[in-house]
Symmetry: C2
Subunit: 133 residues, 2 copies
């Protein structure tokens, strides 16, 4: 391999290498998908506030139809992940939000009971490649 | 709902709302997964160069074991998406890269023949939520 392409002028890129990247997957019940999309078009401000306060940024969820999957991507830019996640779980609006949205989903985690407690609800997907911007 | 949380002080956040977000999914052949991970631990510089030249940044691929899926996320920060994608497809190293990696994958796209041409290879997943950082 030559290194020709690596010597090309690169565009100025935004810095994106801060923080921890997280990708999580869960199954959406097909009959609840429209409802899931509807509530996510107007997520409660308290829920977004709890995420931001916990240093979660750049958060998107995509729907993959062939397996009825919801795929979440986010970055964590804080210093104490466990403490920040506990902060989210303490937020009353978030607890109500999880009650609402958990019912639209089926977890891949054995023994999972919901987002609030137990062995987890969404399944983490392993990072196998990254190119920073 | 009160707006209490929205009034909390927010951390200073990196700007992440530039560009187009893309999430794509494909199946990895389970017997080729180790090889896929190995080549992605050292992607050819020409392939990365072609992506950057085409204004693709912040690109990650995750593996979701329950369905043997590869989940790709990237941002496109250029002005002419079709032209930039054509530029990637014109890159000789990228063509060789695709020949290598296509063989490790199975497309969900009906009639798909490979990354280089045809009706597509990876399947786009629909965005249903976004919170900018």
């Amino acid at each position: 391999m030559s290194t020709q392409a690596a010597e090309l002028p690169f565009p100025v890129l935004p810095k994106t290498d801060q923080g921890k990247r997280i990708c999580q997957v869960i199954r959406v019940k097909p009959e609840r998908l429209d409802e899931y999309k509807k509530v996510h078009a107007a997520v409660w401000p308290e829920v977004l506030g709890a995420l931001r306060k916990a240093h979660v940024v750049d958060y998107s969820i995509h729907f993959f139809e062939p397996h009825n999957l919801l795929i979440a991507h986010m970055r964590y830019i804080g210093k104490d992940f466990d403490k920040d996640m506990a902060g989210i779980a303490d937020n009353e609006a978030t607890k109500r939000w999880w009650k609402l949205t958990d019912g639209m989903q089926e977890s891949f985690v054995p023994g999972a009971t919901g987002s609030e407690s137990g062995p987890g609800w969404w399944t983490s997907a392993e990072e196998v490649f990254r190119m920073e911007g």
